[in-house]
Structure formats: C-alpha cells, structure tokens
Symmetry: C2
DNA sequence: TATATACGGAACTCGGCAGTTTCGGAACCT
DNA sequence: AGGTTCCGAAACTGCCGAGTTCCGTATATA
C-alpha cells in the first residue's frame, strides 16, 4: 500500500527487471511522514492540513512527499490505513467477569489512542461523504477494531453463562465508543477513566441485566449508577 | 443576531439618528440565505462551502451576502444559530409511560431534522476546535435541545415514580443522540424508526431498570432485547 | 570515477476562493 | 422628479495551497 512506483516487481510482463541504479529511496522515512500527517490531521482536519505542514513536521521536503504519494488525498488515505494499532493488539484481558474485562480495557494508553482516533475522525468528517474509499478505510482502522474487542468480550461472557444471548450485542458493543465520541466531539468534555466506568456501570451492564460494580469504582464516588430494585 | 449594520440604533451616542433614506433592505431574504447556507454546510462542510454556492442556491448576489454579514465565518455562525427548531418546540408527548413518551418522539419529521443537524455537525467538526464561539453555538442549537427533551421526559417519569432518581440521567439523556450520531457518521447506516426503538428497548430502558415494550414493537420483530432473568 | 537517483530546500505555476468594486435596474423617501 | 440605497450579476484583486521544477548535496550502481 505504501510504495507505488517500484520498477516492475508486480504484474508487468513487458520490459521487466529494470536495474534501478542510483540512490535508493529511504523507506524508513515513510512511517515518520505518515505519523506527521496523522498529527496534522488530528489538529487541523483534512482541509486545514497542507502538504507543507506535513513535510515541515516530518523534516522532509515537499518534493519527497510527492515522490511517494501522487496527491494529498492518497497520502491521507495511506496515513489513515497505516495508523498504528497501538495496544489494541495486546492480548484480551481475562478477569473472569465481563465487568472486570471491560474495566481492564481502560488504560491511559488506550484512552489516549482512542482520543487521537476520534480527533482524526472529526478531521475527516466532512470528507467521508465525498470519498467512500476514505470512509471505508477510516471505518476499518478507527471504528471497527474497538467494536471487535467488545464483541469478543461479550461473546466470552455468553459462553461462560454470565449473560444471555438475546441482547442486541451488536449495538451494545459500540455503546461505549458512541458515548465517548459524543462526549469528546459534541459535548467537548474529557473522556477519562471515571466517565468510561460510568458508561459501563450505568449503561452497558444494566442493559445486559448485570449489576454495576460493587464498591470498587476506583474512588469515583458518585454519579455511577447503583440500583437495587425489587 | 441577524442584522448587523443598522444605522445607529444601539450604543452610538454621537451623530445618532441617521434618517436612512433610499430603498430598504429586504430582510425577508435573510432566512432563505441562512437556509441555503445550512444546506450547503450539510452537503459539503465548512471548508467546502463557498459564498458563491450559498448565493447561487438562494438566488442572491454575492455582494448581498456581504452587505449583511461581514465574513463567511459570521454567516455560518448566524446560520447555525438561527437553524430552525422544527417540531422540537411542539408540546411534549404525555402517554403516561416513559417508553410511550420516548416512542412518541420518533416521528419522520424529527428524524429528518436530526439527520440534517448531524450532517451540519459533521461539516463543522474540524472547525469546532478552532472556533469556541462556533462550538458553543452549534452545541446550543444542535445538541442541547434534544437532550433537554429527554431530561424532561425522564424527570416526569421520576415524578410519577416510574423510575428511581439514582440513575445517571444526565448520561442516559444523550444515549440515543450519541448512538444515532455514531450510526450515521461512523457506521454510515441509516437512522430509522426501527433503530431508534431498538436503542430505547435495548439500551435506555434496561439501563433504567424498566422492561422493554411487550409485544408492541411495531413489527420490528427481532433484535430488540427482551430479558427475563432469575 | 562517471552516471543516475533520492534527498531537503526553495522558487515557481496554476487554480480557486474570500472579499471588493462596478454596473444597470428597481424600490424607497422627500 | 430627483436623490439615495438596495438588488443581482459579473469583473476584479489578493492570498493561499496543490502540485512541479530546479538546485546543491548525498548515496547508490557500474
């Protein structure tokens, strides 16, 4: 996906195997440039981002960027597609309870990563309806992985009999993401550990018919739902 | 908020009371121009919108727009601030149950209105972090009214003893908005009546300790949560 | 060593948009 | 009527960013 103009390594049957002499392209710069693009994208959005900003932050020349990507649109597409997966690839927690697993997913690193992803999504928002390819890439990189994790945690809870399978797990798997993005982008309030716990205990677990956590709400103290009814 | 350069009606002590002769400004055009701006905004976003597009759609001249608003930024600010409240000002439904009230709020008009508001929000997304004033205005017009309605419905449910007050009502009042915006902007799926009912029955009501609707789910048939446990 | 390419940096072209001005015509006031 | 201001349309200015080209230098092959 990253390199585009290698001599003739793929498909090309005719005039193959160009010897490719001269200085070689330094592909170790690609990630630095793409990271710079993601940063600028999160800070200023697609329209506010300029190629010169990206080149400047990556300490590269503008021509270097155009040697590797044919246009701003393709650079952004590649940057989003290659965005680091961070610790989402870490092994899933297995605490024995759904609540424990969900709480264990709340780590400073993953909060910061989710926040950056949401900022990038906000920066791309007005482009998504004009570029289906970008929309698909952004979905696959920024939205789907987090939902997949929750789906897996829910499925394990079903397997061990903690919850029944007749809930709308597909919807509940994205509740926390939806609430986080709404809070950050619409309400413009911080998405911190306390907020995420209040979503788990006040929305997700009650919707699954489970009680909220008993007295281990990490010093939050109030707000979180604690119902005892019937 | 709309008119800006009236002669000297406010503050100005010196050289007051300009007689204002000549043809008068046709203020009946203001709403048409602002509506056109909202449409373009929803379609192309803030950066993609041009003054000429707005003038063209409103069948007005570009100079006419600049006679009324000093800049594109102020035009957009005014357009968002003056965005029609639609039927959100209609009297609240009062069906006697929280679920009935929530379902009664789902009308084709309000769905379409919410969809346009979300498109506008998406078009403004990358600007919100650069213009706090725009962010505040967008929040007050596009986000807050809907949450206020849910807050009022919840409060009435508390008053008549249908639910207890120890839930995180502040969070639950925005769950449906958050899920709708996530579905439309991130998942890029339609926000229809069936989806909104599944949010009410599968997330909001269970989180409040209430059962989902019994057998009157309007032909949806499956998906909606119906738990019976212990 | 000679040639060819990549590099960072800077100058350059080109097109589009914000904002201004001008124009003929229409509406308003005295 | 006569002057003043608004109107829509179009020409115009100034700026900025996408994309290109050129330069001096660094690094590769032959």
């Amino acid at each position: 996906m990253t390199q585009l103009d290698l001599p003739a390594e793929t498909g090309a049957a005719e005039t193959s195997a160009a010897p490719r002499l001269g200085r070689k392209r330094d592909h170790s710069r690609d990630p630095e440039i793409l990271d710079a693009a993601i940063e600028i994208l999160a800070e200023t959005g697609y329209e506010g981002m300029t190629i010169e900003m990206v080149a400047g932050r990556a300490k590269a020349g503008k021509a270097t960027l155009y040697r590797r990507w044919p246009s701003k649109a393709e650079l952004v597409l590649d940057a989003v597609a290659c965005m680091k997966r961070g610790d989402l690839e870490a092994p899933l927690p297995d605490t024995g309870t759904l609540r424990g697993d969900l709480i264990a997913m709340i780590k400073p690193r993953s909060i910061a990563e989710a926040e950056k992803k949401l900022q990038v999504m906000a920066g791309l928002a007005s482009m998504l309806s004009r570029s289906p390819e970008l929309a698909d890439t952004a979905y696959a990189t920024l939205v789907e992985p987090r939902a997949n994790i929750n789906r897996a945690l829910f499925q394990r809870a079903v397997d061990r009999g903690e919850i029944t399978g007749d809930h709308d797990l597909e919807t509940l798997a994205v509740v926390s993401s939806a609430m986080a993005s709404y809070r950050l982008l619409m309400l413009r309030k911080p998405v911190d550990r306390e907020f995420l716990i209040s979503i788990i205990d006040g929305v997700v677990l009650p919707a699954l018919g489970l009680p909220a956590g008993e007295g281990e709400t990490a010093g939050a103290g109030e707000a979180a739902g604690r119902r005892r009814q019937g």
